[in-house]
């Protein structure tokens, strides 16, 4: 009887493993996750990697896409490719910020609601319901209209109408976990208060929140672009993908690249975000 491990030897601990993660995410999901990471990197590094200064005239106006200027030039001869890269920064980073703040606000509200239960839960959930039935985009538009246009105001307005889903998710997860035998067993073992929350409840809530957030990124990006399209984002000279599309829409038939290429990048961003969301969901559910 040689070479047989005894039944109680500990198998190698499955620490977090990227290869497993990507295998469970599937090739489309992995493509989305990698693509989105690249986009984030581009967004952060945008000022340093643009081939031309996006604010200056570098060539003749209305040049179609060519080898020198991949996306062509705009009405005053600025390089459109450089402007789109900066536009990715102006669209993508605010979207992440909106998601992050909604995540924090929403999960806090949800945790309180789910943990305390009873009357508090009832009241909080009705408030959440109230926010959910209001037309979010319209409210955000109204908020921006009253605060005045600008990127920070737009982000705040969006966060105001965006946190409810995270409150719902975290509340439901907490309530589901609270009824599970392992949480009850921990309680019988004498675990209370913040220790119960931090060690036994929160780790179970995080995957659901992450999945929700990753599937939500595309929505936020769309809405942000929509608001810029309507003129409520960054003021005119700053490149933002939605605003670039809207400002040049009337030249669609003459200079097609001006509205189409920024819009195509929005489309690509949202596609990547959805693929990545699906991938993350598959990977975390499988874990």
């Amino acid at each position: 009887m040689t070479g047989r491990p005894s039944p109680d030897t500990l198998p190698a601990r499955p620490r977090f493993n990227w290869r497993d993660f990507f295998r469970r995410a599937g090739w489309l999901g992995s493509f989305g996750i990698v693509g989105l990471s690249v986009v984030t990197l581009v967004a952060v590094l945008a000022p340093w990697i643009t081939p031309f200064d996006p604010q200056l005239r570098v060539a003749g106006a209305y040049l179609p896409p060519s080898a020198g200027h991949w996306f062509g030039t705009d009405e005053i001869g600025r390089d459109l490719f450089s402007r789109v890269i900066l536009g990715v920064q102006n669209t993508w980073l605010p979207a992440l910020a909106v998601i992050a703040s909604s995540l924090v606000i929403g999960s806090l509200v949800g945790l309180i609601s789910g943990l305390l239960g009873g009357k508090v839960d009832l009241v909080i959930e009705r408030i959440v319901d109230l926010f959910l039935v209001l037309p979010g985009t319209l409210i955000a538009l109204a908020v921006v209209a009253s605060l005045g246009p600008g990127l920070v105001n737009t982000m705040m307005a969006l966060a105001v109408v965006w946190w409810m889903w995270y409150a719902r998710i975290s509340r439901d997860e907490i309530r589901r976990l609270k009824a599970r035998p392992h949480v009850e067993a921990a309680r019988i073992a004498g675990v209370r208060g913040s220790r119960l929350l931090l060690r036994y409840l929160l780790p179970g809530v995080v995957p659901a929140l992450l999945i929700g957030a990753s599937l939500d990124v595309a929505n936020v990006t769309m809405t942000l672009s929509l608001m810029s399209f309507l003129g409520l984002g960054l003021p005119a000279p700053a490149p933002e993908l939605g605003a670039m599309t809207s400002r040049t829409l009337d030249s669609l038939t003459v200079h097609w690249w001006l509205p189409i290429l920024p819009a195509a990048i929005i489309f690509l961003l949202c596609l990547l975000a959805n693929l990545a969301g699906d991938g993350i969901r598959a990977a975390l559910r499988g874990a």
Binding site: M1, R4, T9, L10, R23, H182, A186, V191
Partner: protein, 589 residues
């Protein structure tokens, strides 16, 4: 001899989990004849459910099953068959009933519509089939939705649905595990009757040898994906030829088992890491293993003990096994003090049920009526009753998890009682290590300190768990190890009262006997009082000093276990005892 309905030849199945292929079935060969009932017996993970699924062509697709060998059902070769061959086989030839009848019924369709869906060509009327399975008022049942029916009724509906198609083969995968004993006896009787009347062959998958013995004509004993013994049911029960079958038989307990000493159990747990190509997969647990057992894989050969076949090189030694068993040391005498560890007086509890109306409150439905029960220090009381009797509610009141509406609960100890739940895997938090969870009750001590780790290690040794597993996650351990971890958490600071909620109901025989032994040992060593909730009268008798029988929320009887079994006072207890399956043919006592 009649033509066989099912001929399985050298069937092997390889499933891939996460890209790693593993052989779950290997060299399975057997025949089934019309009207014959074959029991497929084995512990969890032995591959018995995989056989059932393979015969229906329903192995989960994500496992990329590779099936080899041959399955001939009513003369049709099914291995490698096209999709529509399988579909027509599933419609007309092979039907299945499962452990979870609710999951097998569509919650949005009436029973009548589902039965019509299941068999469009048959002439037999639905009501006729429902009443054949012993369902009263078939008209009402046919028009009901599944959630309106009880568990036993649903299982009967599934049987009616399966038999209506007049299949050649019925696969019954643990169909009675979720049911009460009285209901189980009726379902078994029904299956036997239908097999005889319809000449349907039944493959009955179970881990419970006594259930198998009361029903089947022949038995296949499965271990690690291979048939280790096959033969006539009564032969195998009387003179098992494989040491594993002998161990399974010795580990089962019934109303006649010796309760003064530990139950015999199978040695340790199954180890998956054996080179099965050139070794007997049971060798690592086998009490009579010799060196050649790990060098040669034993083929299935005619047994000397009976007319069947056995895969063991030394099967003529097996009969000496049972003789060695009886001399385990008896339990030390237990001192029961007069002080009560738990005293419930006139405890009552009702839950609101029925639809919620906007204006009024819902009608409360009493679950417990005026329960008076006390457990003395050092005493073990078993609470027996069928599902819905209020057993779990009583346990939760004793634990302080539920507040009773009336009556008082008094505990001797300031320390809250500890609870062992039914499902040990669900009672452990998946993302925390075993050591962290066991050490949770030593709140003052950090687990990082040497003292903390030593205390956890001692608790793990106490329950028979290797302290190496301290840093393991629950998912890396077997069910038996999880059960021990749950117990270690409960006893690291020994409570005066331990509450067990059906701790063995989901376990196979060997693991159940091991757990009963462990609980008996711990309560004596740590001087704990114990409330043991179960639906299994045999288990209650073995572990408890007194047995309390609960029926519809009221205690109908409480006495010494052997007194209750010898002379049951209430009609309900009598029916519980009568429904106990036994190894004798025909079942019942």
């Amino acid at each position: 001899m009649t033509e066989s309905v099912l001929a399985v030849q050298d069937l092997s199945v390889i499933l891939s989990r996460e890209g790693r292929p593993s052989r779950v079935l290997d060299g399975i060969s057997f025949d089934m004849f019309p009207g014959e009932i074959i029991a497929l017996v084995g512990e969890s993970g032995s591959g018995k459910t995989s056989i059932g699924l393979t015969l229906q062509g329903l192995l989960p697709r994500e496992f990329q099953a590779r099936v080899g060998g041959s399955i001939r059902l009513a003369g049709i070769e099914l291995v490698g068959a096209r999709r529509h061959t399988w579909q027509s086989a599933r419609r007309h030839l092979v039907r299945a009933i499962s452990q979870d009848p609710m999951g097998a019924l569509n919650p949005t369709m009436t029973i009548r519509r589902q039965m019509r869906e299941s068999d469009r060509r048959s002439g037999g009327s639905i009501e006729d089939w429902l009443s054949r399975t012993g369902l009263p008022d078939p008209d009402r049942i046919a028009d009901a939705l599944p959630h309106r029916l009880s568990g036993g009724q649903r299982q009967r509906v599934l049987i009616a649905m399966a038999m209506m198609a007049r299949p050649k083969l019925l696969i019954a995968d643990e169909p009675t595990t979720a049911l009460d004993v009285t209901m189980q006896a009726q379902i078994l009787h029904l299956l036997r009757h239908l097999a005889h009347e319809q000449q349907t062959a039944i493959l009955f998958i179970t881990h419970d040898l006594s259930v198998a013995a009361s029903l089947a004509d022949r038995v296949l004993v499965l271990y690690a994906g291979r048939i280790v013994e096959m033969g006539r049911m009564q032969d195998v029960v009387r003179t098992p030829a494989h040491p594993y079958s002998a161990g399974l038989l010795a580990a089962r307990f019934d109303l006649d088992s010796d309760r003064r000493r530990p139950l015999p159990t199978l040695p340790s747990e199954r180890t998956p890491s054996i080179n099965v190509a050139s070794a007997c997969s049971y060798a690592t647990r086998c009490p009579i293993a010799r060196p050649d057992c790990t060098a040669i894989r034993p083929p299935l050969k005619p047994a000397s003990a009976h007319g069947g076949a056995v895969a063991c090189l030394h099967h003529e030694q097996t009969r000496f096994l049972s003789a060695q068993r009886a001399d385990a040391e008896p339990w030390p005498a237990q001192t029961i003090q007069e002080t009560a560890a738990l005293r419930l007086s006139n405890v009552g509890k009702a839950y609101p049920t029925g639809p919620q109306s906007f204006w009024g409150r819902r009608q409360p439905q009493p679950v417990l009526r005026s329960i008076t029960l006390s457990i003395k220090l050092g005493e073990c009381v078993a609470l027996v009753g069928e599902s819905g009797a209020g057993k779990t509610t009583l346990l939760r009141i004793a634990a302080g998890l539920v507040v009773p509406e009336s009556g008082t609960v008094a505990r001797f100890d300031k320390l809250p009682p500890q609870v062992v739940f039914q499902d040990p895997v669900a009672a452990l938090t998946p993302w925390l290590t075993i050591g962290e969870q066991i050490g949770e009750r030593l709140r003052a001590v950090s687990l990082d300190s040497d003292y903390g780790r030593r205390r956890v290690g001692e608790a793990m040794k106490l329950v028979g768990l290797d302290p190496v597993l301290m840093d393991a996650l629950p998912a890396e351990m077997s069910v038996g190890q999880c059960q021990r971890a749950v117990l270690a958490r409960a006893v690291i600071v020994p409570p005066r009262l331990l509450l067990c909620d059906e701790p063995i109901s989901a376990m196979d025989v060997s693991l159940a006997a091991t757990t009963l032994n462990l609980l008996s040992d711990l309560r004596r060593r740590l001087d704990m009082a114990m409330l043991f909730v179960t639906h299994d009268l045999a288990a209650a008798r073995i572990i408890a000093d007194r047995v309390a029988v609960l029926k519809d929320g009221a205690l109908v009887e409480i006495a010494d276990p052997d007194a209750i079994i010898a002379a049951p006072q209430s009609a309900y207890t009598q029916s519980l005892i009568a429904a106990m399956p036994s190894l004798q043919p025909g079942g019942g006592r």
